[in-house]
């Protein structure tokens, strides 16, 4: 103890302290982030997948993301984004991006399943990241009510309580979720594409994600018990409807009633 107190004014003491601090935070961070990678790389890719994927990447993605996916000023580095990110972005047609804009738009996808898998294998081989989720998490047999609560607390502020989508700032938006596959929903939560935050397994557990997917699929299958849903957009579409259709029909009747036959 005496030696330590004597050396506390040593010129290198501050540096040693800084190093210790960095080591502790870095170590804690590494422990914390492995929560997210507990299931990393459960899907096995063959070496040839990664090799083929590398070729596809060089031909289609490297312009923006750089050779070796190290990133350029036009596109971020993809080292460590994981197979899930690739499967989501390429599988929904968002990548390759059609044009620059506030966010990548969904469009008919450009690569088939096999090519998407090869790209995913390639990117996954560059560094560990969220993997494509297990089929067991996508069976839509979770607790819908629990999923609904999680959805309202975590997702509804952007995606709308009925998952009909909503606006964000400066042209960005949260898309409607009807018709999106469970796998893509899961991957979006795990990787946070575009302007979406990442909901890692510490935020929402894999079971919670399964519940959310169950909820979304259930309300999609339920349809609208009260009749046509008018886009599930809430009071704006209802107000528009009553003014245009409701009042319109009634005005037609008033004209009929007050027209004279003479």
């Amino acid at each position: 103890m005496k030696a330590l107190s004597q050396k506390r004014r040593h010129p290198l003491a501050a540096i040693a302290l800084l190093l210790m601090g960095l080591l502790v935070t870095g170590g804690l961070y590494a422990v914390a982030t492995t929560v997210n990678q507990a299931k990393a790389d459960t899907t096995t890719f063959s070496a040839s997948d990664a090799q083929e994927g590398g070729k596809l990447f060089a031909a289609n993605c490297a312009t923006c993301h750089g050779m070796g996916a190290s990133g350029t000023k036009d596109g971020p580095s993809l080292v460590g984004v994981g197979a899930a990110a690739v499967d989501f972005q390429v599988g929904t047609g968002r990548m390759p991006m059609q044009m620059n804009g506030p966010q990548a738009q969904e469009k008919p996808r450009q690569f088939n399943d096999q090519q998407t898998q090869q790209l995913a294998a390639y990117v996954a081989s560059l560094g560990a990241g969220p993997a494509i989720p297990d089929a067991a998490l996508l069976d839509e047999k979770g607790d819908a009510a629990k999923g609904g609560e999680l959805f309202r607390v975590n997702c509804a502020m952007c995606h709308n309580a009925a998952a009909a989508g909503g606006a964000l700032t400066r042209g960005k938006f949260a898309p409607a979720l009807a018709g999106v596959s469970g796998q893509h929903i899961y991957e979006a939560m795990a990787t946070g594409p575009q302007n979406m935050p990442v909901f890692n397994d510490a935020n929402i557990s894999p079971e919670g994600k399964r519940d959310i997917i169950t909820f979304l699929k259930k309300i999609e299958a339920n349809g609208s018990p009260g009749g046509a849903d008018l886009g599930s957009l809430g009071p704006v579409s209802e107000g528009l409807f009553v003014w245009v259709a409701g009042l319109g029909v009634i005005i037609a009747f008033t004209i009929w009633l007050t027209s004279r036959t003479s």
Binding site: R152, A162, T169, G227, F241, G246, I250
Partner: protein, 557 residues
């Protein structure tokens, strides 16, 4: 029949039904009432029926609402949902929300009645609004109907209050968010705001009292006030008699139309069922307020696309348009320990305050400017009062800008534009829109007047081109019949009223201001064609016809 004859020969009914009817009539005086009301004359025009639509919507609301009260429980006690909507099974919620879900899913016809009630509510306020627009633009608020205009304005406010209290009852996420905004607005009122909020909610928001309190307001106090106002309104309609559009044989001393009984009573009765039918069809085919989508109220989540029903939309829109900070200028002050939050207080109260103040005062404002103290029972065609029409259009535009702002997020997503740009444009239109609308509406009204004048003088263009023997082409103008002519020329066109000295021979500054406003009001005018002008125009036509040959005389007019 004369009074003397009835006195001499007392009426003796011959049949049993006749005797019973006579018995009742002698004690109730029904035939006298029927004679009086049955002869009330109503002019026929489709635009006169919106008040009726509002009345019928209100009747539908009373009936469907009564059904809902049988099953609704306004308690905020906590429960776990156990009804048949599985995506909410075992979710913690209030009894109010749970009973609303039960009405929707477990009570036979419950969802239909809920939707009838809600659609009828939207239609009620919409038809009220259109009715008031009709009254404004045709000048029906002028003497002797100023007070009834005010009663109508009170009805509009009551309808909004009734709608908002009802919107909040299911205690779902959407309505809870709406209540939270109201709470924020109340709390932004200086000094007393927090006290009012705590009094209203029985403690800190949301508390456990608000749904029960709103329920009492919604089913007891506000509907009773609405009913009272409707009675006063209709009583005044009977006393004042109905207004009518200008036409031959119509003046401020008569009403031209059908008597109430039997034709109009049948029409009106049938119209009730038409309105009911339209509302029932909407309720059966289109969902409204799907509360099961929103989930139970919980102060933490706020869903995207959270909006109030359309009639509160303009207030929500004004709140959305208000910037939080402009450069470094924030709108929050702390005065003697009290926080004054202008960026909530200003947009929430000022535009609505301006709209309703002007709305209530307008009959007196116009009366002061025009010094018009005569009774008016013949309406103005909107084009024939260009400045009033322009004021109305400007006000309506202002309202619509705020209204649109309440849907700014949906405008952004559905038209693929940036939310920020929508907000910037609407902020600009908030200030410029009414001015542009005023100028455009006034010019359009004047242009229509000119068109009327042109048609009155030269007849309707037939589109038939005739070549005269000497080679000249003329378009044949068809003369109007006298009925149509009357409509185009038989209206008042006041001129600016200069400042007049009062009884002391002094022209007061107030009178000068009035004269200036009068000039602004009536300066731009298109005078209706005078008889002399009409004569001259026709004479001119004859002259041309004679020049171009006797046989073409009929062509030129």
């Amino acid at each position: 029949m004369s009074a003397s004859s009835t006195a001499e020969v007392p009426f003796a009914p011959k049949t049993k039904v006749g005797r019973i009817t006579d018995f009742v009539d002698e004690r109730v005086g029904g035939s006298g009432i029927l004679r009086e009301f049955g002869r009330k004359v109503f002019p026929d025009h489709w635009s006169f029926m919106f008040g009726e639509v509002a009345l019928y919507s209100f009747v539908i609301l009373l009936m469907s609402g009564t059904f809902l009260t049988f099953f609704f429980d306004p308690s905020m006690a906590e429960t776990h949902y156990s009804g048949s909507y599985t995506p909410l099974t075992n979710v913690e919620m209030s009894v109010a929300y749970s009973s609303s879900l039960n009405i929707s899913f477990d009570i036979r016809g419950g969802l239909f009645f809920r939707q009838v009630h809600h659609w009828a509510a939207l239609l009620f306020v919409a038809s009220l609004g259109v009715h008031m627009l009709r009254v404004f633009f045709t000048g029906a608020f002028r003497k002797p109907r100023e007070m009834n205009w005010v009663v109508g304005g009170v009805l509009l406010i009551l309808a909004m209050a009734e709608g908002f209290t009802g919107y909040s009852l299911p205690d779902d996420l959407l309505s809870g968010n709406g209540l939270r905004i109201i709470d924020g607005v109340i709390k932004s009122i200086p000094v007393i705001g927090t006290y009012i909020s705590f009094f209203l909610f029985g403690g800190e928001f949301p508390g456990t009292a608000i749904i029960g309190r709103l329920y009492v307001l919604h089913i007891l106090l506000v509907p009773a006030m609405i009913l009272l106002m409707i009675v006063i309104h209709l009583f005044m309609v009977v006393v004042h008699k109905h207004t009518q559009y200008p036409g031959p044989g119509r003046n401020d001393g008569n009403v031209v139309g059908y008597p109430l009984g039997p034709v109009y009573a049948a029409k009106a009765g049938g119209f009730f069922f038409i309105v009911f039918g339209v509302v029932a069809l909407m309720a059966a085919m289109f969902t409204i307020n799907p509360i099961w989508n929103y989930g139970p109220y919980d102060p933490s989540p706020v869903s995207a696309g959270t909006q109030p029903d359309w009639y509160i939309g303009f207030v929500d829109g004004a709140l959305r348009l208000m910037p939080g900070v402009v450069n470094d200028f924030h709108f929050e002050y702390i005065i003697f320990g009290h926080v004054l939050t202008l960026n909530v207080l200003l947009p929430a109260l000022v535009p609505a305050g301006i709209i309703f103040t002007v709305l209530f005062m307008y009959p007196w404002i116009e009366r002061w400017i025009t010094k018009d103290n005569r009774e008016h029972h013949v309406l103005d065609r909107p084009r024939n009062a260009p400045t009033r029409t322009a004021i109305g259009v400007a006000g309506f535009t202002w309202y619509c800008v705020m209204w649109a702002a309440a849907g700014s997020d949906l405008i952004a997503t559905h038209f693929h534009v940036a939310l920020n740009d929508v907000t910037y444009w609407l902020r600009t239109l908030f200030f410029l829109g009414p001015i542009i609308a005023f100028m455009v509406a006034k010019r359009v009204a004047l242009a229509l007047q000119r068109k009327d004048r042109e048609i009155a003088l030269h007849g309707r263009e037939t589109g038939r081109i005739v070549r005269l023997p000497h080679g000249e082409f003329i378009e044949v103008h068809a003369p109007l019949d006298d009925y149509k002519h009357y409509k185009l020329v038989g209206f008042e066109s006041p001129v600016p009223l200069p400042a007049e000295p009062n009884e002391h021979g002094v022209v007061t500054p107030k009178e000068k201001r009035r004269a200036a406003l009068s000039k602004w009001f009536f300066e731009d005018r298109v005078a209706p064609a005078t008889p002399a002008e009409l004569e001259a125009a026709h004479g001119h036509g004859h002259h041309e016809a004679i020049e171009s040959g006797e046989e073409h005389k009929s062509l030129s007019h």
